[in-house]
Every structure is written in structure tokens, then in C-alpha cells.
């Protein structure tokens, strides 16, 4: 039995993967404690979980695209969040005495704290922003990000050359496979474990699903509410003329689709894993969670990436042949409909989705990640 401390961020895509791994570690007889904002993690983890609470910081500045969004993500959220979390991460390590620290790639405080205490630590890569170094195409932007990270480490008192908080030297667990990353080689301590889906409870009006029509889920994620409304309206207009053959489930902020077309179910959220088996395609902003879960269910994708790692994910899906990319901010209903019909009607997209999804499902997921985490312990003693 070993003790694992998980340091992660209060963001769905990050936290849910960590929960999947924690469940697996617990099932194998290990103990798990958490370090993160209690207001987010307590409801997610339940009353019995050990949570070392941190301060939190809302990520408000979301209505931006591209490099501006990347800059604000680092400057307004990841770096300040790292600073808020440092004292709590320290308390957690001292109070809990973990054998291993499991750190979300963007929860910088966890990496710095584990390093300071000389503990072995693992990186969880839940998105596509760093793993294949997509920013290398913009070297000065890449250098800016590295400089932000370096000055955070310096302010935290860690100045060791070669210390890289985004990538553990012990173990890097990435929720993807080469079906998406391409053939780029990774070091041996990188474990590409594919999808690690986490079933969450949620209501859905199952009786409203029409078995006679093809069904499309349209969701642009949990972080894009400011931008989502306009897209949802264009998406509703895109599917409205397909009423005879297509039914759409649109995850929309409340009030955005007050009077949707007859073939559109507008809902505030969906029980994703329960719904996916009933679907024929997914239109999404390209969050890693949604994309990998859709692929595991062999669903072709239409992706309208907004920012952060979403353009990278979209490019990976397009390269794999499993989907079509459209411009989020200006795709017209007609263009979106055309892309959707291609994804639905051309069997090559589904076959490629099946292939990529098969790779993601076969890579082992949370059990494989847990096994790799277990193998870190003997090396530590």
C-alpha cells in the first residue's frame, strides 16, 4: 500500500482524469489524498476524501482566441494559481507524507513542491498543449511560455538547471496515443495510456431520442460559455433543415436556445458516457475529453476549435482522418451542415474514428496509468 498525493486544477478535463486514476489506485488498495480548491473538489470527491485545500482563482478572461488566450491562460490563471497552491501543496506533503506526488501538467505548485521535498512525482498530461511541443512553430511564443514557467520556479526558490515542472523526469502519463500524436518518439518514462473515461451522473430525457434519425451531439465545452451562445445558434440553424434525418442534442448555456428547431434538444449538460453509444457524430470545440470519448465510440467529429490546445487536438483528429475542422468564429450554418453531412455520410471518417478510438481504448487507460504509478514506488525506496 502506498500513499499518493494528487495535485491538480479545478477544471473538468484535468480533474476528471485524475479522479479516474485515483479510483483505480484506491481499488488497488492504495491511499489517495488531494490538493486543490476544496470548493471544487469536495463536491466532486465526496465527504470522505482527504483534501488539502488551496486558495482558488476564477479563470474569468475566457472570451478570447488564439495567442491572446494562451497569454491570458498563463498570466491570469496558471501562474497565479500555482502561487496560490504552493503553501497548500507544501502543507499537504508535510501532513500527508505521500510516497508519490501525482501532478497535473499545469498545476505547477505540485511539481515544484515534490521536487523541493525530493519526492518522486509524475506528470498527468490531460491536454495537447505541451506534449508534442506544438508551439515550436512560434519559437518566441514558446520561449515566452518557458520564461513564465522559469520565473515561477525561481520565485518559488527552485533554480536547479534542468528542472522542468511540465514534464516529470520519473513518469509522464499522457491521455492520448500515437494515433493522435503521430509518430514523434517519446522517452521511455512517457506512458501514453489513451482514454480514461469517467462516468458522471446526469439526467437525460432518454425517451426524447428518436431511434429513426441519426443523432448528433453538439457541445463546445465547459470553458466557453461567453462564446458558446452564438455558435449554438448557428449550429441549431445548421441542423434545422435536416429534421427528417438528423436529431441534434445541443449543450447550450440556459436561455441561448429558448425556441430551438423541432429536431434540436437543447440541454444544459449531458451524461456524456451514457449518451455516446446512441450517437452518430459529435460537433465539438475539440476538448481532449470529448474528443477521446467520441473516438472511443467510433464517432466522426466536426471540430470548431476556439483556443488553447483545441486547435492542436483538431489538427490531430484531421490528420488521423477522423474529423473535419471548421472555423469556430465564422463557420456559417450552411458550412457547418455541409461538414456534418460529410462526417455522417462518408464512411471513411467513421472508419478512421474507429481506428483512432481503438488505439485510445487499447492503451490501458487508468489501470495502465496506475500500474506505472505503482512501479515508481520501489524505485523511490
Amino acid at each position: 500500500m502506498s500513499r499518493y498525493l494528487i495535485v491538480t486544477l479545478p477544471l473538468t478535463g484535468h480533474a476528471h482524469r485524475a479522479v479516474a486514476i485515483a479510483d483505480e489506485l484506491t481499488a488497488r488498495g492504495h491511499e489517495v489524498a488531494w490538493c486543490g480548491p476544496e470548493s471544487y473538489f469536495r463536491p466532486l470527491l465526496g465527504p470522505d476524501a482527504t483534501v488539502f485545500p488551496t486558495g482558488t482563482r476564477l479563470f474569468r478572461d475566457q472570451a478570447r482566441h488564439g495567442i491572446a488566450a494562451l497569454k491570458s491562460l498563463w498570466q491570469q490563471y496558471l501562474i497565479p494559481m500555482g502561487r496560490f497552491m504552493l503553501p497548500a501543496a507544501d502543507r499537504a506533503v508535510l501532513g500527508y507524507r505521500p510516497d508519490i506526488v501525482v501532478v497535473d501538467q499545469h498545476a505547477l505548485a505540485g511539481a515544484v513542491t515534490a521536487h523541493r521535498h525530493g519526492l518522486p512525482w509524475a506528470t498527468l498530461v490531460t491536454g495537447a498543449m505541451e506534449l508534442t511541443r506544438p508551439l515550436m512553430a512560434l519559437p518566441l511564443v514558446d520561449a515566452w511560455v518557458r520564461a513564465q514557467v522559469a520565473s515561477f520556479c525561481q520565485a518559488a526558490g527552485v533554480t536547479d538547471a534542468g528542472f522542468e515542472p511540465l514534464f516529470s523526469p520519473y513518469l509522464v502519463v499522457a491521455f492520448t496515443t500515437r494515433a493522435l500524436t503521430g509518430e514523434q518518439p517519446f522517452p521511455g518514462h512517457y506512458a501514453l495510456v489513451g482514454a480514461a473515461p469517467l462516468a458522471r451522473p446526469g439526467d437525460f430525457a432518454w425517451d426524447l431520442l428518436d431511434p429513426a434519425r441519426r443523432k448528433v451531439l453538439i457541445t463546445v465545452g465547459t470553458m466557453a460559455d461567453g462564446l458558446a451562445g452564438d455558435f449554438c445558434q448557428r449550429a441549431a440553424a445548421a441542423v434545422a433543415p435536416l429534421a427528417g434525418s438528423v436529431q441534434a442534442i445541443i449543450v447550450a448555456p440556459s436561455g441561448v436556445l429558448a425556441d430551438p428547431p423541432g429536431n434540436v434538444l437543447a440541454v444544459p449538460s449531458v451524461p456524456m458516457l451514457a449518451l455516446l453509444p446512441w450517437l452518430d457524430a459529435v460537433i465539438s470545440h475539440g476538448g481532449m475529453n470529448t474528443v477521446s470519448e467520441a473516438l472511443v465510440h467510433s464517432l466522426p467529429l466536426v471540430l470548431a476549435p476556439i483556443r488553447h490546445d483545441q486547435p492542436v487536438v483538431a489538427a490531430q483528429v484531421v490528420r488521423a482522418g477522423a474529423g473535419i475542422r471548421v472555423p469556430f468564429s465564422r463557420v456559417s450554418p450552411g458550412q457547418l451542415r455541409e461538414a456534418l453531412l460529410r462526417a455522417l455520410d462518408d464512411p471513411r471518417y467513421r472508419r478512421a474514428a474507429e481506428q483512432a478510438g481503438g488505439s485510445l481504448a487499447a492503451a490501458g487507460g487508468a489501470p495502465a496509468a496506475a500500474a506505472r504509478l505503482e512501479s515508481l514506488v520501489p524505485a523511490a525506496r
Binding site: 488564439g66 495567442i67 518566441l140 486547435p311 468564429s329 465564422r330
Partner: protein
């Protein structure tokens, strides 16, 4: 061949052709229009625009190379006017 100076209107036409989005022609693009902040162009759009500019204005025009040389705030603040200036400099044989 004496190339004409590229204008903001020419930029809008090139962008419309590169993205297939005719609304760029009537979007009121001026020299001060921001590629990212105003037009929401992403890396794919820039690549398409770069290929089109090269075809239209000559092999010396390397927009991806130009953008890759910019600092983070330079990319965030990149305007249509900077792109047309760059293209015009390339045509005059002095890209930098």
C-alpha cells in the same frame, strides 16, 4: 513586372480567397484591423493566407516565417497593415 502596392482591400481579397469566406470583403478591414483579435484568424487561416500571398505576390513572401519571428505581443497585435507592409517590402526586395 512592376508589382502594385498591396492595400488593405487587397488583403481582404486575399483573405477571402484563402479562407473561402466572402464576408471578409465586406468586413471593413483596414490597416489597423487585428488578425487575431478582430478577424479571429487561427494558425490554419494564417497558413492558408501565407500560401495564397506567396502565389499572388511572389516566392519571397513568407508569412509563416514572418509570424514565427514575432514576439508574443507582436502576434497578438498583428494587423492587416503590417502584413501588407511586409508583402510590399518583400516585393521591393527588402523583407526585413
Amino acid at each position: 513586372m512592376t508589382a502594385e502596392q498591396m492595400t488593405a482591400d487587397d488583403f481582404a481579397a486575399a483573405l477571402a480567397a484563402a479562407t473561402g469566406d466572402e464576408s471578409m470583403l465586406t468586413a471593413g478591414i483596414t490597416a489597423a484591423t487585428l488578425l487575431e483579435g478582430d478577424l479571429c484568424l487561427d494558425s490554419l487561416d494564417l497558413a492558408a493566407l501565407g500560401a495564397l500571398l506567396r502565389d499572388r505576390y511572389g516566392a519571397a513572401v513568407d508569412l509563416p516565417g514572418y509570424v514565427a519571428g514575432l514576439e508574443i505581443d507582436g502576434i497578438i497585435g498583428l494587423t492587416a497593415g503590417e502584413v501588407t507592409d511586409y508583402v510590399n517590402r518583400c516585393q521591393a526586395g527588402r523583407p526585413r
